[in-house]
């Protein structure tokens, strides 16, 4: 049986709903464009196939989605949503890598930043200690 020795533990975040809010595993991620970058606190979502941000995050990082990305779609509980699929540099826990990110252009989903399995989970092994409300992180070699 393989075992993982996690190097870092981050407490879950409960920014809303004290004392009955939902604690969530979140990580800082820097979205890097050619001339600018922005750090966003994003949900680590093991149920998501890919990472998804609102398109305004791309704009802030100087990423021109209309000319450098292809159109795509993601499916959530609310149905299909059109996206721009972009190869973007991300930096998490000091590791910089290129990931395929979906940027959603939906005014109803503006406060949106989540890290999905594709690319991000290929860079890190994550553990979810739900009892202790801790996100465990170990970069792949």
């Amino acid at each position: 049986m393989p075992t993982v020795r996690y190097g870092t533990a981050h407490p879950y975040h409960t920014p809303v709903g004290n004392p009955r809010g939902v604690a969530r595993p979140m990580l800082g991620v820097r979205v890097i464009g050619q001339y600018a970058s922005r750090e966003v606190l994003a949900l680590v979502d093991s149920g998501a196939d890919s990472s998804v941000f609102h398109v305004d995050v791309a704009a802030l990082a100087g990423i021109v989605v209309s000319s450098t990305c292809r159109r795509g779609r993601v499916r959530g509980v609310g149905g299909l949503v059109d996206t721009y699929v972009c190869s973007v540099e991300l930096e998490i826990e000091g590791r910089r890598f290129v990931a395929e990110v979906n940027f959603v252009d939906d005014p109803a989903r503006r406060a949106l930043a989540l890290l999905g399995r594709h690319d991000v989970f290929a860079q890190f092994q994550f553990g979810f200690d739900q009892r202790a409300h801790q996100l465990l992180v170990e970069p792949y070699p």
Binding site: T14, V16, G28, S37, E39, A48, D56, A59, G78
Partner: protein, 80 residues
């Protein structure tokens, strides 16, 4: 319609590690900002707006070029 890229002259980046750790120990701090983006520097909320672009603009007007940007999702159970 997709936003155009924002002209941004900041190149210096800020290490937000301590801010993120601190925020994790502030349950309910962002109760008043559901469905908004909050810009945080150190232990201070420096701006907030439904649009992250507006939150960054407001933060810059206050002299903060590279805040941590926090999307405040509702406390309801997420399924996706």
């Amino acid at each position: 319609m997709a936003q155009k890229p924002i002209q941004d002259d900041h190149h210096e980046t800020t290490d937000h590690t301590e801010t993120i750790e601190w925020l994790a120990h502030q349950p309910g701090l962002l109760d008043d900002y559901v469905d908004e983006w909050v810009a945080i520097v150190g232990h201070e909320i420096v701006a907030h707006a439904p649009s992250v672009i507006d939150a960054v603009r407001e933060a810059k007007e206050r002299g903060y070029d590279d805040p941590l940007l926090v999307p405040v999702t509702p406390p309801d159970v997420l399924l996706d």
